[in-house]
């Protein structure tokens, strides 16, 4: 492998990058281990997405009577047809980016996903979606356990988290996941230049290699340091990517662009994680035309639309699947602040070049007393266990046994998205 040395100066601080010349070398690690060249991108909508306004049953009179100030008008929805129960559905008008993918048959909308006795606590609920165990919000995550099944030694970039904190889903006992929000600032800083800076980098690497016997907490920190130093060069390569489309100018789109760069540059990560927040819309969430929720939908739809187009242009869509989830949906009736409080079951999305698109499951019908509802008809009752979606992804996309990873067989009732 040929190595080129570049030294950047930023804010008076020299940053040193050892650039690897041949991109093809990188995915060769994965190929040598005989893994399928497929990847999963997980998008978490932080705060509890109001699914009833994401995918609207716009002919349900109760939807309008229970949401007088925040309902999306029927004339504005992006029509996506009729589901198995005969409910006619439409996407939020700001999801034009997703409508295109839906019309290509590559977006699956899985209605009423959740689990029994849904937690209404953000933190417990998001941890439950991470552990994939409604009885326990602590311990390892379902994707962490997937990473644990990969051959050792595990590539340091087997997964790539674009947020600053490691989500529960990616936690595992054996497989650390690097957090790399922005590939272009992922460099080694030094107060010196040239040879001294390289010597510092070598010293930092040796210090981080200490296994710290008797101090597992220190060993953990050294693992993070080592992961950073060892992945600097490959990440820098991903950061040099020039997209084929214009991404929106926001943090979510920037994370997706980083992921696209990693995919196109052949970094070889199996799992990517991105988050977009602000979904805890207790107040003034707005209806179809404008307001906080419309902005959230715009960020989501425009970002995913750009990302999907970009990787499709690169010929990589067929090897890429994206899933979108939130920790819960929201109450059916709006509250006094023209917003919605914490609710239960919601919509999951699965999209990608190999996905069988369409409407899965049945929509909630919002007249009080309808069997698709629970909690005195205050919330949506789940129909599809979220773990059966995970099972489908694990078995049919990532090619591992879902039963051992999910600690149970959730294949029954799984939407046939692949």
């Amino acid at each position: 492998m040929s190595v080129s040395r570049r030294i950047f100066i930023r804010d008076g601080v020299a940053t040193v990058t050892l650039g690897l010349a041949a991109p093809s070398f990188l995915s060769a690690i994965a190929n040598a281990q005989g893994l399928p060249n497929r990847r999963l991108v997980v998008i978490y909508l932080g705060g509890g997405n109001d699914s009833l306004n994401t995918l609207v049953g716009y002919r349900d009179a109760a939807y309008y009577s229970r949401r007088p100030s925040i309902a999306v008008p029927a004339g504005q929805v992006l029509q996506v047809g009729t589901d198995a129960s005969g409910m006619t559905m439409g996407l939020h008008p700001r999801l034009t980016g997703l409508l295109n993918i839906y019309n290509e048959g590559r977006l699956a909308l899985v209605q009423r996903t959740g689990y029994p006795n849904s937690s209404r606590s953000h933190f417990e609920a998001s941890d439950i979606w991470g552990t994939a165990n409604p009885q326990s919000s602590t311990g390892s995550g379902w994707l962490g356990r997937y990473l644990d099944t990969l051959p050792r030694p595990l590539d340091a970039l087997a997964a790539w988290n674009t947020t600053g904190e490691t989500p529960r889903a990616l936690l595992s006992g054996q497989s650390g996941v690097p957090a790399i929000p922005n590939a272009s600032t992922y460099t080694f800083g030094s107060p010196n230049r040239g040879q001294a800076a390289l010597q510092e980098r070598a010293a930092a690497q040796t210090m981080a290699a200490n296994s710290a016997p008797g101090r597992p907490h220190l060993a953990y920190l050294n693992g993070a340091s080592r992961g950073a130093i060892e992945t600097l060069d490959r990440v820098a390569l991903a950061g040099q990517y020039t997209p084929t489309v214009v991404y929106p100018n926001n943090g979510f789109a920037s994370a997706l662009r980083t992921i696209a760069g990693a995919i196109v540059r052949g970094i070889g990560s199996r799992v990517y994680w991105a988050t977009t927040g602000g979904y805890d819309t207790h107040a003034d969430q707005g209806g179809g035309g404008g307001g906080a929720y419309a902005n959230l939908m715009g960020t989501l739809g425009d970002g995913l639309g750009a990302f999907y187009s970009d990787i499709r242009n690169q010929g990589l869509a067929a090897d890429t699947t994206i899933i979108v989830f939130s920790e819960f949906s929201r109450r059916i009736s709006e509250n006094g602040s023209a917003g919605t409080d914490h609710g239960a079951a919601g919509v999951m999305m699965v999209l990608g070049g190999s996905v069988r698109g369409g409407l899965y499951g049945t929509a909630p019908q919002l007249s009080p007393g309808h069997p698709t509802l629970e909690n005195n008809s205050g919330d949506v009752r789940y129909e599809t266990d979220f773990r059966s979606v995970y099972a489908r992804v694990l078995d049919n996309w990532l090619g591992v046994n879902s039963v051992s990873i999910l600690n149970g067989d959730f294949r029954a009732g799984a939407p046939a998205v692949f």
């Binding site: 933190f123 988290n161 600053g164 650390g176 210090m207 993070a224 950073a228 207790h282 509250n335 006094g336």
Partner: protein, 495 residues
């Protein structure tokens, strides 16, 4: 400068932000109990830190949004200026425990600027959190309210937070009315501020929402939610009896000392008492006491060992016996055998704000502009006044990933680069060998003890170009490089 004794160093890392060269003399002649008393009874030390902003020998602040029409440093109405002021306070205060506890409470009542600014505009959004009464009209900002009673009574603090304008916007109490009760604050006051998950029910959430109906917000006459409105405009708590649900509210836990679980129906005019009754009950709930004991175990004692049940019971008892007064509890903790056990030294993961403050204190702040630490801290995962959500920051090992570790190490590089010449000048009279440089630097910069391999790696670095020559440029390069390695290494992330 020699270090203090290890017990006091430990105390100052945990109950403060480490020690700068300038502060060593304050603590040098104190016994451990004297040092605890000095920190805990902080009213004995001058509260003059804000007056020292702009003085020589201190870190600098600059107006973060200087414009031709507005070039004043404005920490009461500009959030980035307020961030600099808080960093300045943590660096230079004579009352470190007051700042440390304010940080604890900011995380406990974690309120984020962005939502406030979306609601009220940038100026008012900042003022809601950081306004220090004195010059402008209006009530104290949330974090100033927390600072004022950092070791006060939790009952009063929680009542203040229930009426706090920032909190009323953050958790939507401003629109909590009898026709449409708003559950957000009602849920979080139990889940996050007091008893915790598992000690309340969903019906309790509905009941708590109804308790706080009518606890709303009113703006001053000159208030507008423009980004740049009147500096003197403000919003404040208002009690609206006509918006209060007067019916009975029944909880799954006792509200009254006779074991009664039902807040009785009351006329509108007396309805404010509902919230006071609920707050009193939650504050003195044994699970609140235990939850704080566990949080303070992690904050003051150890994040490596789980809370010792004996500590939790003892600390909870001190809290309950003192009717939720915080000062006696913290004094108890800092003088307890758990705190002084040498096994618990360096057993806590530094928050980014603690890491950055200590690094600056130990390496130096000459010519340092505090506006420049904001963006590195964000990359480490902690922007003051912007917790990720109402549960606060994810603490402990959750601070650390490859990305945040790299951000910390690169901040070490920035600090070392900024102090390069000053470090070399101050070390030159003392240092004439690589060993001497390492020993002298470890007197100032205090990572957890090194194993042999990393210690050897540091010596290898210092001698990477051959034997020590003693030139000025050698010291210049190696002292700053060493500072970068010491502050950026894993051992330094522990306090």
């Amino acid at each position: 400068m020699a270090r203090l004794n290890p017990e006091i160093d430990h105390l100052l890392r945990r109950a403060g932000f480490g020690v700068s060269a300038a502060e060593v003399d304050t603590y040098r002649d104190m016994s451990f109990p004297q040092a605890v008393a000095h920190l805990v009874d902080y009213e004995g030390s001058p509260d003059d830190v804000d007056e020292r902003i702009g003085r020589p020998d201190h870190a600098r602040v600059i107006p973060s949004k200087a414009t031709p029409t507005r070039d004043l440093f404005s920490p009461d109405i500009d959030i980035d200026d307020a961030r600099q002021r808080w960093m300045f306070r943590m660096l230079h205060t004579r009352r470190p425990l007051q700042e440390k506890m304010t940080l604890f409470w900011h995380n406990h009542f974690a309120t984020g600027y962005s939502k406030l600014a979306t609601d009220s505009g940038m100026l008012q959004g900042a003022k809601l959190l950081v306004h220090k009464p004195g010059i402008l009209r209006g009530p104290a900002g949330q974090v100033e309210t927390l600072r004022r009673q950092a070791l006060g009574n939790f009952r009063n603090m929680l009542l203040d937070m229930a009426k706090d304008a920032a909190m009323l916007i953050w958790l939507d109490g401003q629109s909590n009315t009898k026709a449409k009760p708003q559950e957000n604050f009602g849920r979080e006051i139990m889940e996050l501020f007091t008893v915790g998950v598992g000690h309340y029910t969903e019906p309790d959430v509905y009941a708590a929402a109804r308790v706080f109906t009518g606890w709303n917000l009113q703006p001053s006459a000159d208030y507008t939610n423009d980004d740049y409105g009147s500096m003197n405009a403000y919003q404040e708590f208002v009690w609206r009896p006509d918006q209060h649900d007067t019916g009975a509210k029944t909880f799954s836990f006792p509200i009254y000392s006779d074991g009664g679980r039902t807040i009785p129906p009351r006329p509108e005019s007396d309805g404010l008492q509902d919230g006071i009754d609920l707050i009193n009950a939650l504050v003195m709930h044994p699970e609140t006491a235990r939850r704080f004991a566990r949080k303070w175990w992690n904050f003051f004692i150890s994040e490596i060992q789980p809370p010792d049940p004996a500590f939790v019971e003892a600390t909870a008892n001190v809290y309950l016996q003192n009717r939720s007064e915080i000062r006696p509890v913290i004094r108890f903790i800092l003088t307890s055998p758990w705190f002084t056990d040498p096994a618990n030294r360096f057993a806590r993961f530094a928050w980014p704000v603690e890491y950055v403050t200590r690094a600056i204190k130990e390496v130096g702040w000459q010519n340092l502009d505090l506006n420049t630490v904001r963006s590195p801290m964000a990359a480490m995962g902690q922007l003051l006044y912007e917790p990720p959500n109402v549960a606060g920051w994810h603490l402990g090992v959750d601070w650390f990933s490859t990305g945040t570790m790299l951000a910390r190490a690169n901040f070490a590089a920035t600090v070392a680069a900024g102090q390069k010449d000053f470090l070399a000048a101050s070390l030159a009279p003392e240092v004439n060998s690589a060993d001497g440089l390492l020993a002298t630097m470890l007197d100032r910069v205090t990572p957890a003890p090194f194993d042999q391999a990393p210690q050897q790696a540091l010596m290898t670095y210092l001698l990477a170009d051959g034997p020590w020559r003693g030139t000025e440029s050698e010291l210049n390069t190696r002292a700053s490089g060493l500072a970068r390695l010491l502050v950026g290494c894993s051992e330094y992330q522990l306090i």
